[in-house]
């Protein structure tokens, strides 16, 4: 039982303010459009309007074998339209959103149609001022990152004011003061927490005259972010604990580029922040991100190291998952694109603590060599290893209040993921290109719960062969054959993809994902999905029909559970 914690509660004050803001935004856009139309002959400044639309509609059929359910309305639809208008130093934008009702797997509380984002901005040589919804990132994002990822259902836009000042060449100062988007119910709904932040970035080569001719380029920066949420005490076990209303996170960073060598690093700290992610412990958080790279023509290598300890940071201490995250922890595992590797065992960043290293390298075998042949050959290699962090649990009240002590930045004993993959890409002729990718994964399903069928480490080998063949000037085919071998979980899988492109408008594809190795014969299902797409200019219409497997969909280490589905899909996108 917890008391004194501020759960989200809608306030009549918020819609009142938002209605006013919406009206003001609409009025500003309209006035600018009229003004622009009437003044085009008298001023060289031209206004520009850009935008994009997306509609995703799904129809559902029941399918007890794959566990596909049908909502009461039998269909779902997510749609949005964004508009941005620029006139000289001024710009403004607005985004309409519609969830009628949200497609399955999205936050079910997203519903209705209304304005999900609105903003206005003015900038000159010294200042850039933005009011309304703001997307911003400080450094690598470990102190602050607000972003919109419609495919994941994430929008943690800041809603307030941001000022960016460039007082001197090479110096950029940012200040932000805002609430944060939490929900959507025919209108934008903000959480109660308040986010305040400042960031400074200095490009030393511009600031220090003696460094200007230097080939080594150095950038340093620092950020500070504080959230405010009211709260008095929390009951935890038998203790009553004081809640911090103001929780701060701060970071320092440096980036150096010298010829082919680059280095960047950021270290972040967070003060006591009891929250639902860390089970309300008062331990400080910290994080370290290091990158070192070497790149020349035809060869590049990057080493990354990451340490994260208790770094979930939200503007509402009671929220979890996608709700009101202030920061973002970059992923060092590769984001895979092939069907089996990307959907069966995708790794999600563990905000409460992980320690990892990765290596990424590519090499281009030159043309007219034994291996390279006429067109050369590309090799890419990636390895990532992530474990828990090295900690010692505390005892008694200290355990209740602080949880554990961190011993070092080193790996803990629990393996989270191992991901090795190598890709060969070889063009054999003007019309034929082959790609082969091999993956070896060790994946802890207790840490990233992608399956309910197996708890522990899955050892998997994946082979992917892709062929790209140009049949003639207008037609091309792309085919993939994929196989996953494992003794754990649902055992072996295969995927086949065939895609035909008829330039300039049409694409036809069919995908079959087949769990042929499942011990349960009834679960050896073909997840067959066919798509027809039509593209013209900046617009695309795609219709698909078939089955989709229950699983996890990830972008950048952030993952969303996707339920099984069986039915028709319509996807329309357009930009202008």
């Amino acid at each position: 039982m917890k008391e004194g914690r501020s759960n989200f509660r809608p306030s009549f004050f918020i819609p009142f303010v938002q209605m006013k803001v919406m009206k003001v935004c609409a009025a500003v856009l309209w006035v600018l459009a009229v003004f622009n139309a009437s003044s085009q002959n008298s001023t060289p400044v031209q206004g520009q309007l850009h935008g994009n639309f997306q509609v995703l509609w799904q129809q559902y059929n029941a399918d007890s074998i794959i566990g596909a359910e049908v909502p009461a309305e039998k269909t779902g639809m997510n749609a949005f339209g964004s508009f941005a208008y620029t006139y000289g130093n001024f710009s403004a934008g607005i985004r309409f959103e519609s969830y009628l009702n949200a497609i399955m797997g999205f936050p079910g509380r997203f519903r209705g149609t209304g304005i999900g984002s609105r903003w206005a901005q003015y900038k000159n040589d010294l200042l850039e001022i933005t009011v309304g919804n703001i997307y911003e990132q400080f450094g690598s994002g470990m102190t602050l990152r607000s972003y919109w990822e419609p495919n994941l259902g994430i929008d943690n836009a800041l809603d307030g004011i941001r000022v960016i000042v460039t007082p001197d060449t090479g110096i950029t100062l940012k200040g932000i003061y805002a609430h944060q988007r939490f929900d959507f119910d025919s209108r934008l709904i903000n959480g109660l927490g308040l986010v305040r932040g400042a960031d400074a970035e200095i490009f030393l080569n511009d600031l220090v005259p003696s460094l200007r001719p230097n080939k080594t380029k150095i950038t340093v920066g620092g950020s500070f972010v504080s959230k405010f949420q009211e709260g008095e005490t929390i009951d935890k076990d038998t203790l009553v604990l004081k809640l911090p209303n103001n929780v701060a996170s701060y970071a320092g960073r440096i980036a150096i580029i010298s010829g082919p060598v680059s280095f960047s690093g950021e270290y972040v700290k967070k003060i006591n922040d009891p929250n639902a992610d860390n089970k309300f412990i008062y331990k400080e958080g910290s994080g370290l991100l290091l990158n070192i790279g070497y790149s020349v023509k035809g060869f590049g290598i990057t080493l990354q190291s990451k340490f994260i300890d208790n770094m979930a940071f939200r503007s509402d201490r009671d929220q979890l998952l996608f709700d009101v995250p202030i920061n973002y922890i970059p992923s060092i595992t590769k984001q895979h694109t092939y069907n089996l590797a990307s959907t069966l065992y995708p790794y999600a960043t563990v905000l409460n603590g992980e320690s990892g290293n990765s290596l990424n390298a590519f090499y281009t075998v030159k043309k007219e060599t034994l291996l390279g042949g006429k067109y050369g050959m590309n090799l890419a290699l990636n390895y990532a290893a992530v474990n828990n962090i090295d900690t010692t649990g505390l005892a008694g009240n200290d355990q209740v209040v602080y949880g554990y002590e961190t011993n070092s930045f080193a790996f803990g004993k629990e393996k989270f993921v191992r991901d090795f993959n190598v890709e060969l890409k070889k063009k054999f002729s003007k019309n034929v290109t082959l790609l082969y990718t091999y993956y070896y994964m060790e994946f802890n399903t207790l840490v990233t719960p992608v399956t309910v069928d197996f708890k522990g480490i899955v050892f998997a080998d994946i082979h992917v062969l892709e062929a790209q063949v140009k049949l003639n000037k207008k037609m091309a085919i792309r085919a993939e054959a994929q196989a996953l071998f494992t003794e754990q979980d649902k055992k072996d899988w295969g995927t086949a993809l065939f895609e035909l492109s008829v330039s300039p408008h049409w694409t036809f594809s069919i995908l079959d994902q087949y769990n042929y190795g499942n011990d349960n014969a009834k679960a050896r299902v073909h997840y067959l999905f066919g798509t027809v797409g039509y593209v013209k200019g900046g617009s695309r219409v795609a219709i698909g029909y078939g089955k989709r497997r229950e699983g996890i969909f990830c972008i950048g280490g952030v993952c969303r559970a996707v339920p099984a589905s069986n039915g028709l899909e319509l996807n329309i996108t357009s930009t202008f």
Binding site: P167, R196, A198, D237, K242, V247
Partner: protein
Amino acid sequence: MKKIFLLTIVLVVFFTSCDVIDEPICPPLGVGFREDLYGPPPEFDPQATVLTNVLLEDFTGQQCGNCPPANILARDLDTLFGERLSIVTIHAGSLAATGPDYPNDYTTPEGDFYWSQLAFQAYPEGRINRKGGPSNFFTTPAWEDEITESLAVPGVLDLQLAAEYVAENQHLNVHVYSRFTEAMPDAFRLVVLVIESKIVDHQLWYGHIPPEVPDYVHYHMLRGSVTGASGEIVFTNPDADATLVSSYSMDWNAAWIAENCAVVAFIFNESTGAIVTCTDLELGE
């Protein structure tokens, strides 16, 4: 000037936006006797004879069909041993859950904590002066003998209690007098609990026809605490005659009926968990 102004803003934001909490643990809930309202705490006279009293903690649940016989046994033992025995009936665990026929939740954070201390969680079972440590428990056939044995332990702590419910201020005032008669090693914690009797509500009882009893009378039910489940340290390595009066004013919970409530106080050894002695006082007296 412009840079200084900006820097000042950043520094102001920085220094006003951090609540570093060095001591997150709040003092126990009941701390702070309202002397401004009620005057000084009462004075206690040392008892000439100091005996060891016994606390029986009876773990139960409204959906535990085997528990009513244990509740009845506890009340029989209360009659048998009189003032030397205090009883706290703790609703905790899965059989204390609410359900369609059991709409009221009688679990408490304190009870949940005590339940979590048990080495084996089952119903009915009881702790007797936490003999053998807080994880140790006794089944009903052993209760009488264990209580008798514990009552025979020579007394070393004079524990007295004064309590009053002040209706106009909705306060429970509690004063606990404690005096060691011998020097003792270790630290000792004082716990003050509130229990309530004569609560009429549903109870599953396999020995009753029908087993769903809608008007079962619950006695000695743990309702809350003044000090928290773990209490507060009141003595560390006390000398003989080490004496302390601990006074509390606690906000009353309106769901409790004062005349049916009692206060139970006990002191336990922090190292072993064993209770040194206990006492109770009915507010309706």
